[in-house]
């Protein structure tokens, strides 16, 4: 099978407009004959479901939480990018496009990124029209702030709760359609199988998490908007329910998985403090607008931060990257924090953290102003650490936060399975090997509000889809597979909990496939994961039954999928013999420790085809051409 990204011909500025014109339309009366299944209700899922319902499609929406409003997009803090150029600082669609391609270390598809930059402005307009309470200046215009990897202020925000406010905007649009009867909402459902009939995605099988019943839903197309797989690492900033199962099950049914090794380790998180920890907490990148990152110049300096005089501090980001300073991209900031702690200059009890210091900003702007900008973040830090960041510098350390990899999609956001679309973090499309801050919200809403509603119509208008009901034998078969698997999980009755397996796997991946990777470690991990998986199916302990709400069982099912998926992630990391963005192979670095790409050999998207559990996946390559942003070693100095 050859991968066809279906990128339209013509100059990059005209591709999307021309493509939209060329896409076939579904007439209004015919739209109501189509049944669309949307899985996941984060920014991508909610916005897509609402927009499709507004167009007249019948939409069924599924989410894992008790309400669509709780999807993990809600936890995004800092902001959303757009090329509005309101501050008059030289921003443009072209600059946002350029920054995003460069920020992604030249591993994204130019045409997708350009479209993202184009629709970024529509997103802000749309959200304001919905009543999203963005921060405002005294004259009533919108405020902006800066994020990493950009020298302009293009980030719109609602305090430290931008994700919450954007998601509530999309959620309200979605609930409006529920009220109109155009959307049927199915909360507390977990997708466990994708159903493919005659080569096209025609439905899903899910578990009703309250009753334990296996339920089948048929439709004309399926949109997976199920987020990233960061929780494969056990500790991440993701929510407890975030998981890889939906995309992994689709992968097993034929959807290629692209660039699974591209994971984002966010530089500013609250450091790990103990074994009991269930997750890590992010401190928004926006804090780097006013906070200064430093470590002591001396190794093993255990003095309290305020006791260390100015001249004995190393503001290493400002020193090494004077143009971008504390606002270098995330991969660069994380790698540097690791270098500092590796050198023995880390701070705190464990030595595994660096300072993020606001004392200068508080002196300059006053505590009130800082409170207004970041109040909820400071409170959150205070709650978790019991230290007051207005008085002592925050201690931060990198943590897994976002995954750039995901299901491979073409320009239409369709996977290699016709009729299966993938939106938001769940796809691989726009961020290359490193995502810039405040771009995830932009991509989720771009996919959902402004891309999928058009491209889905194009698919439905040209595909010849026969009638398929949920009584079709393919559904029976998928239901049987789901029930069989649950029975097996419950029957093992071993000695080790799914959480313990998950923690072991996470530690292995953090050590061998985390912020820095090398061939030796990756090969060792590749040997260990199948053994871990085998032990899981012999020794996992799941209590309770399958006919009720059983969170132990849910967790076990997700860990089982991580134990398969992680092997692909490590294999991808091993095969990519270069460093790019968040994928840092120790063997491939420049003299000053920056990521060293190999454009000759690796300027492609690695899309993997499933060949069976424990079998080597087959690699397909989508070559990447850079016709508008010229390949160059990234420099933020």
């Amino acid at each position: 099978m050859t991968l066809d990204p279906k990128v339209p011909e013509g100059p990059i500025e005209q591709k999307w407009d021309k493509h939209r014109f060329n896409l076939k339309l579904v007439n209004p009366a015919n739209k109501r004959k189509f049944e669309i299944l949307v899985v996941g209700t984060g920014l991508a899922g909610s916005s897509a479901a609402a927009s499709l319902a507004e167009l007249g499609y019948n939409v069924k929406v599924f989410c894992i939480q008790d309400s669509p409003r709780r999807a993990h997009s809600i936890a995004a803090q800092g902001g959303i990018n757009a090329a509005k150029n309101y501050p008059n600082d030289g921003d443009s669609i072209w600059r946002l496009f350029y920054d995003t391609v460069k920020g992604g270390d030249f591993r994204s598809r130019e045409a997708n990124v350009y479209r993202l930059a184009q629709v970024s402005n529509n997103i802000i307009d749309q959200c304001v029209a919905q009543g999203v309470p963005f921060a405002r200046e005294y004259g009533g215009t919108l405020s902006n702030r800066s994020f990493g990897g950009a020298q302009v202020s293009r980030t719109f925000y609602a305090r430290g709760q931008t994700g919450q406010q954007l998601l509530l905007g999309a959620y309200q649009a979605l609930m409006r359609q529920v009220g109109r009867g155009q959307v049927q909402m199915f909360p507390r459902r977990e997708l466990l199988e994708l159903v493919v009939v005659d080569g096209a995605a025609r439905g899903i099988v899910c578990r009703n998490l309250i009753t334990g019943k296996t339920e089948s839903y048929a439709g004309h197309a399926v949109l997976l908007c199920t987020g990233g797989y960061g929780n494969v690492f056990y500790l991440s900033t993701n929510a407890m329910a975030s998981n890889v199962s939906a995309t992994w099950r689709a992968h097993k049914k034929g959807a290629f998985f692209a660039n699974p090794c591209y994971t984002q380790i966010h530089p500013t998180c609250i450091p790990v403090s103990g074994d009991y920890q269930s997750k890590l907490t992010l401190m928004s990148e926006s804090l780097r607008n006013d906070g200064r990152v430093w470590v002591p110049k001396k190794k093993g300096d255990t003095r309290a931060p305020r006791q260390i005089p100015e001249e004995e501090r190393d503001y290493y980001l400002e020193r090494k990257y004077p143009s971008f300073g504390n606002l270098v991209p995330r991969d660069v900031a994380s790698r540097n924090a690791k270098q500092m702690t590796d050198e023995g200059r880390g701070v705190g009890e464990t030595g595994l953290s660096v300072y993020l210091d606001f004392s200068d900003a508080i002196k300059r702007l006053g505590e009130e102003k800082i409170k207004e900008k970041y109040g909820n973040l400071f409170d959150m830090y205070h709650h978790i650490t019991s230290e007051n960041p207005y008085q002592v510098p925050m201690r931060i350390y990198p943590a897994v936060h976002y995954t750039m990899g995901g299901l491979w999609v073409d320009y239409n956001l369709m996977t290699t399975i016709p009729g299966l679309f993938c939106l938001g973090e769940a796809n691989f499309s726009d961020h290359g090997a490193n995502r810039l801050g405040a771009s995830a919200l932009m991509q989720g809403l771009s996919d959902g509000y402004f891309v999928a509603p058009y491209t889905l119509g194009g698919y439905l208008a040209s595909a010849k889809l026969g009638a398929v009901q949920s009584g079709h034998p393919a559904f029976r078969e998928a239901e049987r597979a789901v029930e069989e698997r649950i029975k097996t999980l419950l029957a093992v009755k071993g000695k080790k909990t799914a959480v313990e397996f998950h923690r072991d796997l996470g530690r292995l991946l953090w050590d061998d496939c985390g912020m820095a990777r090398n061939a030796k470690g990756l090969k060792e991990a590749l040997a260990k994961i199948p053994a871990m998986r085998e032990e899981f199916w012999k020794n996992v302990d799941v209590t309770g039954s399958g006919e009720e709400l059983n969170m132990t069982l849910e967790r076990a099912g997700r860990v089982a999928d991580y134990l398969e998926f992680s092997e692909l992630m490590v294999r991808d990391a091993l095969h990519r013999e270069e460093s790019c963005g968040g994928h840092f192979r120790e063997e491939y670095q420049t003299a000053d420790g920056e990521a060293k790409r190999d454009d000759e050999k690796f300027s492609y998207v690695a899309a993997w085809e499933f060949k069976g559990v424990g079998q080597d996946a087959q690699l397909h390559k989508e070559p990447l051409a850079f016709e508008n942003v010229h390949l160059a070693q990234r420099s933020y100095a």
Binding site: S51, E54, Q65, D66, S67, R69, R70, A71, I74, A75, K84, Y86, N122, D125, Q126, V128, A129, Q130, G131, P133, F134, R136, Y138, G140, T141, L142, Q161, G163, Q164, L168, Y171, Q172, A173, M175, R176, G179, M185, A239, M240, A241, S273, Y276, Q277, S278, K279, E349, T350, D379, I384, S386, Y449, P453, T497, V499, D541, T543, E548, L549, M551, T552
Partner: protein, 255 residues
Amino acid sequence: MNEKKKLNLTLKIWRQKGPGDAGRFVECKAENISPDASFLEMLDVVNEGLVKRGEEAIAFDSDCREGICGMCSLVINGKPHGPELGTATCQLHMRTFQDGDTITVEPFRAKAFPPVKDLVVDRSAFDRIVAAGGFVSVNTGNPQDANSILIGHAVAEKAMDAAACIGCGACVAACPNASAMLFVAAKVSHLALLPQGQPERMRRVAQMRAQMDAEGFGNCSNEYACEAACPKEISVRAIARLNREYLKASLCSEE
């Protein structure tokens, strides 16, 4: 690492097999708990122990564990989200408790939040209230430039104060009448303050209130318990605004 003194606690936890079953308090031990652990991480430790002993884990809701998704709940020692002001259960840390404490843990109780299992309740009534009118009716498309709607800084901040509601339902659990007034007031205030969606302002408040009543939530009798329990510290002044909006809609609506 600095060895902080670990906590040993007794929990009195509400266990209930399913919606139709009788519930009861069950006592269990939480041992060797780090004071830096969150309340939910303490329950994770307890659950791991239960599963290891072949027993069923205690069902409780949680997701983001950063205090923003609104999925976690629990009435801890009689208070929704526990003893700390402005804090959701997931951000409540065990350093708040003393070694040897006995802690009572119950679900959010309200007629409109039917029980599901153990500490889990069904809060979908909130979604139905939003579906009844908690939105601005604007389709995806090409609205005017964002800066053509000017909103003063103070108004935007006030709207944001109300919009900060996480929809957890603590206000309902805290209210002796199990009223959802603070939840409804937060959304009504957020949207009433802004210029967007003004044409449906009266319709919105009327329909949201009607749905609130239909779901079986009680009335407001000015107890202010909701404000005290709210993890986002949303002020009861929002309820005053809701009442004004409702009165105006009752008197002046053209519909």
